[in-house]
């Protein structure tokens, strides 16, 4: 049985999207519905299971263990838009995940033959590892067979998304959470992906607002030796030292632990490589800026680690003038690392 007042339940649960932006789920659903009512169009539903950050793997965990709950949430979304009609359900994921989980998903879908879910389901695989195609509007472009580049907003996907339709893009875990909410099992918890120099890497449930220290301790991952962490969205997250662990994890719920004695060159190089490989190339500050940052790093890593001069200019320019959040996110780890770990004076806040 499907619950009729799903929106109220979500609202009461204060459920927020699990993709990293923390947007209230009820508001998103409502705005898609409003737009569809206004325009008389049907609705597209996109399940974002892109999971492009190496240190975030909670969606895989849901697929592995909680498919029925996920489908329960999704069925409620389809039901919620039944009046406006659902044009299609688009499951967007990586080829790796598809290989591993699609047989299971299809099995689950085929349980209800000829259901709205089964009839309208489409699989869409992103090529390679592409991080940017997890960005909701870039993802729409990929589904439309266009380049994996973000779109101008407004219009937002909820207004004019896939094929011009009002589109609901939610993270896979969000649908899972909706499934829990409607069956009364939601305990204000989310999944945390823990990785790096820890004893028990993996995905763990924990309270939504749990702080970093509690999560590390409760999962038996708190290191004995000095360390620092990057939290939220892995490579796009914030770097914090051991005195800053009372903060909530936030973002997409990732914690990566670095040993304190790790060579700064290795840390920074890893981030730069990631961004140079992942920038879509749409805008100047990100396409060229990340490339030039890596170039400067290769030329003189020690000078780079002073975060001064041209390096500073390029980082600041990424913050203020990037087209989308990907470009604007590289400054977060760099600036917070400089400030909280390297203790460089006059470093910017991330």
């Amino acid at each position: 049985m499907l619950s009729k007042n799903v929106l109220n339940l979500i609202k009461k649960a204060k459920l927020r999207g699990r993709g990293g932006a923390d947007f209230p789920v009820d508001l998103k659903w409502q705005s898609v519905k409003n737009q569809a009512e206004k325009s008389g169009q049907s609705v597209a539903i996109v399940i974002n299971c892109s999971e492009g950050e190496p240190g975030v793997f909670k969606d895989a965990h849901v697929l592995e263990n909680y498919l029925p709950e996920f489908f329960l949430g999704l069925r409620h979304a389809v039901e919620f838009f039944s009046k406006e009609k659902v044009f299609g359900i688009y499951f967007f994921t990586s080829t790796d995940y598809a290989k591993e989980f699609l047989p299971k998903i299809e099995k689950e879908l085929n349980k209800n033959e000829n259901s709205a879910l089964q009839k309208r389901w489409h699989n869409h695989l992103k090529s390679g590892h592409s991080y940017i195609s997890g960005e909701e509007s870039a993802l729409l472009n990929v589904i439309e067979f266009s380049l994996a580049e973000p779109r101008l907003k407004p219009p937002y996907p909820s207004e004019k998304g896939l094929f011009g339709l009002p589109t609901l893009v939610n993270n896979l875990e969000t649908f899972y959470n909706v499934g829990l909410v409607v069956s009364g099992k939601f305990k204000k918890e989310r999944f945390y992906s823990i990785t790096g120099a820890v004893k028990n890497p993996g995905v763990y449930p924990g309270l939504e607002d749990a702080n970093i220290e509690d999560i590390l301790k409760s999962t038996n991952n708190f290191p004995f030796t000095d360390f620092f962490v990057i939290v939220g969205g892995d490579m796009s997250g914030e770097v914090l030292n051991q005195k800053q662990l009372k903060r909530p994890v936030g973002g997409a719920g990732s914690i990566r632990v670095y040993p304190a004695k790790i060579n700064p060159r290795q840390v920074v190089r890893e981030w730069l490589d990631f961004y140079v490989a992942e920038t879509c190339g749409h805008c100047t500050p990100c396409r060229e800026g990340t490339f030039r940052l890596l170039e400067l790093f290769k030329k003189d890593p020690d000078d780079f680690l002073k975060f001064k001069g041209e390096v500073r200019n390029l980082i600041d320019n990424l913050s203020v003038s990037s087209f989308c959040a990907l470009g604007a996110s590289l400054p977060t780890p760099l600036n917070s690392y400089a400030k909280n770990i390297l203790k460089i004076k006059n470093s910017k806040n991330s």
Binding site: G281, R287, F291, N317, V320, S321
Partner: protein
């Protein structure tokens, strides 16, 4: 009416309509925000990030091209933060663009160079990233894509796909591996050059003919003849910041003489020959029940390429009348050369054209004249012409106008309006009407086909007949017309929006604003000319009779088309 938006721009209160972007509003208020990837004819992409502005209370900057103004905003277009970011992005873009200024038609008005100076950018702040990328030739050998100069703005892709609906380019690759791919190797580009008009850094440009031409001009054994198209006079002033006036043709003639040409002719005359040849053909087709109808124009070489590549089945509809400069080129090398007792082989005809496809047209073997000479030897665009004037340090604004040389006679007003979309049709209708009813009427303007919309349809009454006509203003509007050919009797097709006045060889920028002012210039010329119809140009009629009598009618006045793979 919706409520106006009120906001502050650099501390000054301004208001605008809802939906207007900050960039637009700034422009209206006399503030030039630099922008490279922005072109009003194309969709907003906001990728160069040069037009960023600061909004009070917001940490991030906003691209002014993509941000609609909202009430209560406080925008700063030139704050230290804006300047710092703009400078950084310019520096990054500059390092993508290999400077090959010596052979760049935009050397004298390069936005990148100007901004580099303004923002005190040291050249090579970063090592050049794309130096090794190749130059690709396309469009039948008359256009070049220099990948070492491209700044990844994608304007060429959008101009070709969205405006012209040709889809010759494809953006491909990710990050720094991004590159514009030529999708259908050469065969399908129609050489219209609309991509060139919208490339902010001349990575796509016409094949630069100036160097070769300069050599020819120094060769004293040759008779160098320049002929300039109707549209040049309407646009050349923009290159020098002077508004259009009726002295423009005189200044052009003067500049061409100073550049070393022995004679300067006006293509308006050639346009009259086209009009008469085409009007004759139209009348003949109208009077022959078995004739292939409708007839379409064929003086736009990009349209001819389009038809030959994409719709060879309709080639019989194209008028076989030659295009204006091919007519006048032939006239120069036949009748005029004989009059002057000059061996046509000694003559070099150089056409100054608003067009890149004309560079292809002159190579077509169908145009070859008796004795093996081609009617036209070289084509330079309006931009290349302006480049030569600037390079020779000629003060165009102060030039004393001189009369151009007369090959046969002046051209009529009907020749002048050839540059505007619908001009060719109007000219032909004026004369077809005369050929049918023999009446020289005073009311000759066909207002119904004028204007800037993409497809214009009308029923015009000439000599008791109702002619169903269509004017295709921009090749992007052609397909529905080809699908419904039977709906019409006569169709004009111009590949470039606005017609030749918006041609791919015209000054940059070419936007709706420039297209409108150039159009007004051409119509004002027509209205003020004593002779406004081609059939009134007795010299043209005489020349055509001469060609007929000497059995050179086909060779000099007509051409052929063929299917191209």
């Amino acid at each position: 009416m919706s409520k106006p938006i009120n906001f502050k721009l650099n501390g000054k209160k301004v208001s605008c309509d809802p939906g207007e972007t900050i960039l637009d509003v700034a422009k209206k208020n006399g503030l030039q925000i630099p922008a490279l990837c922005h072109h009003p004819d194309l969709k907003v992409k906001a990728n160069c990030r040069v037009c960023v502005v600061e909004m009070k209370g917001r940490e991030k900057l906003f691209a002014s091209c993509s941000t609609p103004a909202e009430s209560g905003m406080e925008i700063f277009t030139d704050s230290p933060k804006v300047r710092a970011s703009r400078k950084e992005n310019l520096k990054l873009l500059f390092a993508e663009h290999a400077e090959k200024c010596a052979t760049c038609p935009r050397l004298f008005d390069c936005d990148l160079l100007r901004l580099a100076k303004e923002y005190k950018i040291v050249p090579n702040a970063f090592p050049l990233r794309k130096g090794r990328r190749k130059v690709e030739t396309f469009g039948g050998g008359v256009l070049e894509f220099d990948h070492s100069q491209c700044i990844d703005c994608n304007n060429c892709v959008d101009a070709c796909a969205d405006l012209q609906k040709i889809n010759f380019f494809e953006a491909s690759g990710q990050g720094t591996e991004k590159i514009i791919k030529i999708v259908k190797k050469d065969s399908a580009c129609i050489s219209c050059g609309q991509c060139v008009l919208r490339c902010p850094v001349s990575a796509v440009q016409e094949k630069f003919s100036v160097t070769k031409l300069e050599k020819s001009l120094k060769n004293k054994k040759q008779i160098m003849i320049a002929q300039f198209a109707p549209s040049i006079r309407a646009a050349i002033g923009e290159e020098f910041g002077i508004p259009f006036d009726d002295k423009m043709p005189g200044r052009i003639a003067s500049a061409l003489k100073m550049l070393g040409f022995d004679y300067v002719f006006d293509v308006d005359l050639g346009a009259d020959i086209t009009t008469m040849t085409e009007a004759e053909e139209l009348v003949a087709r109208l009077q022959d029940k078995k004739a292939v109808m409708p007839m379409t124009t064929s003086c736009c070489p990009a349209w001819v390429r389009y038809a030959e590549h994409y719709h060879p089945e309709i080639l019989a509809h194209l008028t076989s009348a030659r295009s204006p400069h091919m007519h006048s080129g032939g006239l120069i090398k036949s009748w005029w050369a004989a009059e002057q007792k000059i061996n046509p082989k000694r003559i070099q005809v150089v056409s100054v054209m608003p067009c890149t496809a004309k560079k292809f047209e002159i190579m077509r073997p169908e145009f070859r004249l008796k004795g093996g000479v081609m009617p036209v030897d070289e084509v330079i665009t309006t931009r290349e012409f302006a480049f030569m004037i600037k390079q020779a340090r000629i003060d165009f604004a102060k030039l004393k106008p001189v009369a151009h040389d007369l090959c046969l006679n002046n051209g009529s007003g009907a020749g002048a309006i050839y540059g505007a979309s619908s001009g060719v049709m109007e000219a032909a209708l004026r004369s077809a009407k005369f050929l049918l009813d023999g009446v020289r009427s005073k009311k000759i303007a066909f207002q119904a086909v004028r204007g800037i919309s993409g497809l214009k349809e009308a029923v015009v009454k000439i000599a008791g007949r109702n002619l169903r006509v269509a004017v295709v203003n921009g090749i992007g509007n052609i397909e529905p017309v080809i699908k419904n050919l039977k709906k019409y009797d006569y169709i004009e097709v111009m590949s470039c929006p606005g017609g030749c006045l918006g041609g791919g060889g015209q000054p940059i920028p070419t936007t709706e604003k420039e297209r409108k002012s150039r159009m007004e210039a051409l119509y004002s010329l027509d209205e003020n000319l004593p002779m406004r119809s081609a059939h009134d140009n007795q010299a043209v009629v005489d020349y055509m009779n001469w060609a007929r009598k000497n059995k050179r009618y086909q060779e000099l006045l007509h051409t052929k088309f063929k299917k191209r793979a």
